[in-house]
């Protein structure tokens, strides 16, 4: 099932899942996949905080095409995929990183090395695909 708006049947997966699975396109054109902390808006817009040194940050700055997957923790056959375009903004003062830190009870400053910085990535949803019920 595919739709332009977030399907009511699968909205709860975003709230139930501790992580989002992000796929990006790497420098050779091959996909790369990783699990991340995230924040979500009601319309299915997903945001993550990335250390600028990470490969996925470089991938999204070079190619904004992304796919996000949520798997129902109670049923691995129920999934929500969000195909999205990534918008990258600098977050040098950790304003958004602290939003994520608050959600996960963590201090993202402590995860970074001197000289590293943060970006806020907003995934603007283009299409929602659901599987399972």
């Amino acid at each position: 099932m595919s739709s332009k708006e977030i399907p009511a049947t699968h909205r709860s997966l975003i709230d139930a899942s501790p992580i989002v699975i992000l796929s990006t396109i790497g420098p050779t054109g091959a996909p790369q996949t990783t699990a991340l902390w995230f924040a979500a808006d009601d319309d299915g817009t997903i945001r993550v905080s990335l250390n600028t040194n990470r490969q996925k940050a470089k991938n999204l700055q070079a190619n904004p095409n992304a796919s996000l997957l949520f798997v129902d923790p109670a049923n691995p056959y129920k999934t929500l995929e969000i195909r999205a375009i990534a918008r990258v903004e600098p977050d040098p003062d950790y304003t958004f990183a602290d939003v994520i830190g608050k959600k996960y009870d963590a201090d993202l400053r402590k995860m970074d090395q001197p000289g590293e910085s943060r970006i806020k990535v907003t995934f603007e949803p283009r299409k929602f695909l659901t599987f399972g019920s």
Copy 2:
């Protein structure tokens, strides 16, 4: 952490996980992500059975670059990514589909429509990336 061979610390995720998360490159060059039944070899070679009508089957026939992710069901922060090249073989008599069916106690013939067929996709691992412990 990155290695050419499957890391002993994360081998158990393959056995523990009911699904593999597969990322492929779609027709527009954007990534697509989906959760699938799978079979695994000891060396981290993953195999899936796909209906030839599915978009992911078409994606892999056009572009064999793939990323596979396993998330520890007991700890979503422990993951294993396998970057792989897909090798596609026809499976018109459901020989491999029945291997998957046996593992999952299902009949894959019943999931297909008349005129559809099956392929066996073997993901030859190129690199293993681990996160968490």
